[in-house]
Symmetry: C2
Subunit: 268 residues, 2 copies
């Protein structure tokens, strides 16, 4: 986490000094880091807008891992451990926010990592692959895409035959709705991480994690380490998890927060 606080402000703007005592310190530092990552060519401008959408939903959740999210993260870890060919997809925003942590999760669960950009160009793909491999300390798939995912018309269908195409369980942090639906249709077990509880990505998932990425992934690593040598407990977690009920509980929680006005901690 230490490296992350280096980025406080995009270089074209006056550097922003954020007090560690600020109640929203973490969110503000993350925001500045994302802005800086646009200049590095890792995050696209529309990726920055998507980050803002996430901020709004996170704000309604109180910027904390709610109990429903913790439960989904435990189930997600159990699914990844149980999978035969688990794959974690990483796009520009996921790379900018949590490359190192996603690498930890891949190691903890034996998953492969595949880079999959929404706004794809050769140059950007290379940059993101380089960043992610450096942060993770491991090789990733996706520099050469030799397969396509059915049901997507554009070149966003592109993937690798070794990775996404062959996967039985896929973890898709911050993924696009079209791709999430295509993966579900292809019979893969989809685990999403998306702060919007109503997004098509969330709705396409069998395990929908509604949580902020940099909180969700370390918690999933913790659960994976806890469940790794306890297959019976992992099995019990999977059997007990009810995704739709869990999502409905998240909505009720957001509504309670809206009614009480508890989310009024924004600096905006």
């Amino acid at each position: 986490m230490e490296r992350r606080t280096v980025y406080v402000g995009a270089s074209s703007l006056p550097r922003v000094k954020i007090s560690k005592d600020h109640p929203r310190y973490r969110s503000l530092v993350t925001r500045e880091r994302m802005a800086a990552m646009v200049e590095e060519g890792i995050v696209s401008t529309t990726g920055l807008i998507a980050h803002g959408r996430g901020e709004a939903f996170d704000y309604l959740l109180g910027e904390t891992t709610v109990p429903e999210a913790d439960l989904a993260e435990k189930a997600a870890a159990a699914w990844l451990l149980r999978a035969e060919r688990p794959v974690i997809t990483v796009n520009g925003n996921a790379a900018a926010l949590a490359a190192k942590e996603l690498g930890d999760l891949a190691r903890a669960t034996g998953a492969l990592v595949e880079i999959n950009l929404f706004h794809r160009s050769e140059g950007r793909l290379r940059k993101v692959c380089d960043l992610v491999e450096e942060e993770m300390g491991m090789k990733v798939l996706g520099r050469e895409q030799d397969a396509v995912l059915e049901g997507i018309a554009s070149d966003r269908a592109r993937c690798t035959s070794q990775g996404l195409l062959a996967a039985d369980v896929v973890l898709i942090p911050l993924e696009d709705g079209d791709r999430a639906e295509a993966m579900a249709k292809a019979g893969k077990k989809v685990i999403s991480i998306d702060l919007n509880p109503l997004s098509r990505t969330t709705l396409a998932a069998e395990v929908a994690v509604v949580d902020e990425l940099t909180r969700a992934v370390p918690n999933m690593v913790r659960w994976a380490n806890e469940l790794r040598n306890r297959p019976e407990e992992a099995q019990a977690v999977l059997a007990a998890f009810r995704n739709q009920e869990n999502l409905a509980a998240v909505m009720r929680r957001i509504c309670r927060g809206l009614r009480k006005g508890t989310a009024d901690r924004s600096e905006r």
Copy 2:
């Protein structure tokens, strides 16, 4: 509105073709326009994230002007008409989204326009002033800031003595919470336009418009034209408007949408 559809995609990215039949056409075109405006130096990268936060709340409202917003827009128009020294503040995001429409509102209500950037630099201030004056076809205040707003420590306190400092009623689209609170403390009647129903800006306002800027402003112009020569009706609107009740109704509406899952039209 025709000019607005010109910007579809930032120039550094593959141009995005958006079908007019897409249910979220308007939101997607606006998003691409905002991304393009970053490259022009009008919108800051953190402004882009703020736009994303707005998108999320708008999405929960169904991307429509809800009845509570229409009511607040009518009250806002009545207040601007009744004011002795109304001022409309314009920052980078407001300039990028609705400069022309805000100019129409200034003319319809006799308000002055003052440019007020959150991430201020001389170069950016000049660019935004030039853009807004061209789009509005009128002079704006703010190139020379000769006064400060009490209660703000940074240079974000800067304003003009002729404009903001002397105003009795201020319309503050997409404004920062600190400045909104400082204006309220200075005794000004604050009218906000902010999609976050719980933001400090919304909570500081006496008339809080929870609506998307490009929908809200033309509707306020329409109400201003309707009420201009009917002072008794305008007075009745002001007397009847209950800001807190109106905001509470917006929250209930968002909750109903969340429960029904009606906001699941996102492409994300």
